[in-house]
Amino acid sequence: MDKRVFFPSKTVPLLLLLPQLVITLVFFYWPAVQAVVMSFQMEDAFGTTSEFVGFENYTAVFTDPFYYRAMGVTAVFSTAVAFLSLSLSLLLAVMADRDIKGAGLYRTLLIWPYAVAPAIAGVLWYFMFQPSLGLFARMLRDWGIDWNPLLNGDHAMILVVMAATWKQISYNFLFFLAGLQAIPKSLIEAAAIDGARPFRRFWTIVFPLLSPTTFFLFVVNIVYVFFDTFGIIDAVTGGGPAKTTTTLVFKVYADGRLGGDLGGSAAQSVVLMVMVIALTAIQFRFIERKVSY
């Protein structure tokens, strides 16, 4: 169906688009351009003057061994968070989609975590698993696990993955639930008559029909872990111990905001930006082909 609307002149559509364009320019492109400009500059120790230094910031970034470590950390972190948050929320959505008593309450409760600010979520998880005070930390200790995210890098990573996953599950859950509810019930019934047991119905009918939703959420989740998790990391581990939970975006924040190296931080964020753009483009080109039906 053709839904295009025709305007007699170009001014009206432009005027209608203007607010959106202004917001996009001011809040998205201007900071991006600023970051690019800053990545070619170096500030003096007091932050009063800056001079053009060419690619010096970039060279510094790519010769920094910690930068490559942060890349590795990001790879582990983003894979774990994307996989866990997608699979857990899909599981929860499948359970909530059935006609059960209290389904409405169950759905509402699952949506709440999304309303919790990342830093608060991080603090909650920090306290629950804080070695000397945390409830869960004590339980683990009682089971004979020497739990200490403050000293053990693997434990710290597990903790930030859990916190970041927890934060993202609500969002994914909502989309999965909507996606599930958009699948006509008669398809499931036809499959049941066709002799498919529930597990097989899920993998041969429901999951393929959900794939556009899954793909969309995959992209959103990757962008989320790349850009949006430094608040959680800051609150839970502060990037430590020994930078084992310092992801690329946390390093941008740590170097720029805490370390005062604005130029280096800007260069890193430009690299990060390019990576996310490339990643998204690759995802759209290669995965989208498989998900359309």
Binding site: P184, S186, L187, E189, A190, A191, A192, I193, D194, G195, A196, R197, R200, T204, I205, P208, L209, Y293
Partner: protein, 358 residues
Amino acid sequence: MADIRLDHVGKTYAGGFEAVRDLSLTVPDGCFCVLVGPSGCGKSTLLRMVAGLETITTGTVSLNAQVVNHLEPAQRDIAMVFQNYALYPHMRVYDNMAYGLRNRGVPEAEIASRVAHAAQILDLEDLLTRKPRALSGGQRQRVAMGRAIVRKPQVFLFDEPLSNLDAKLRVHMRVEIRKLQKALGVTSLYVTHDQTEAMTMADLLVVMNKGVIEQIGAPMEIYRTPMSVFVATFIGSPPMNILEATSLGDGVVSIEGHRLLIDQALSLPAGHKVKIGIRPEHLSVQADGFTIHVELVESLGAHQIIHATWGQQKLAMQVETDRVPAQSGQALVVGCAPQHLHVFDAQTGQRLLRDNAS
């Protein structure tokens, strides 16, 4: 092959709504049984209970003399054609038809030959590699049929399979479905709210109303001897005229002051209120009859329908075109042979004379 037996089946939904009440029905082996009734009368509910998609609140459903109440849909060996066809949108036509066979572990070679055979019967051979969204409504309907027949089930269930098609295709497909079912000899339960479809397709016709069966019988039997005002007006097109009348005793009734002899056998006290049913096609212009006033004439080509008033009451009459050169405003003297008059109790709506002479 199998027969379908429903014994005192009832369905009460979670909200407490009783959609089907104490319903018993036997569909013999190889029979094409049509369930017809107005929207919301419980046809789909009944069909879905037979399919196993809806739990049975009371009574038993048996297929081939085996109670299936607690069997999963897959274990009942039935196939169902849905109103929206329910084709799997991400699978090619071939895979749509093969899906049920694959789930049952049929070897691929056997699947290929069965699908090829079904595709040939249904004229789908050129469409096997397409996805459902690239098909027209009629083609989708045929794929849905194909998916049902490749399984070689004991029973076919149809839930208004033709209601999404245009009028011409519907007429074509109802003939095709009937031919196919005759050839395969599979017992079928077919739901529709279209009385023409019901009349033309059924071996056994079941008229439902508000969750209960009003009448069961062969289509012509129901047409000739409707057992209630509801059935009389539901089966037949245009619907039967129902006229308010009062008994004068001795098998004579009075309608709008006109004396009409029904049958000596009709023993009703004078003053008893009745309803007289006359099919539009049984009215004709006669020298000796009652006078009606034409309001509107509808031409259908071979026939025309004359809408008229008789005193305070409305009635329709169907005649061959050119037989009666009727115009609105005109008065006509018409009559109906006594054996074509149906008498119902005004209070209960039930038929009073058991059967008519014809």
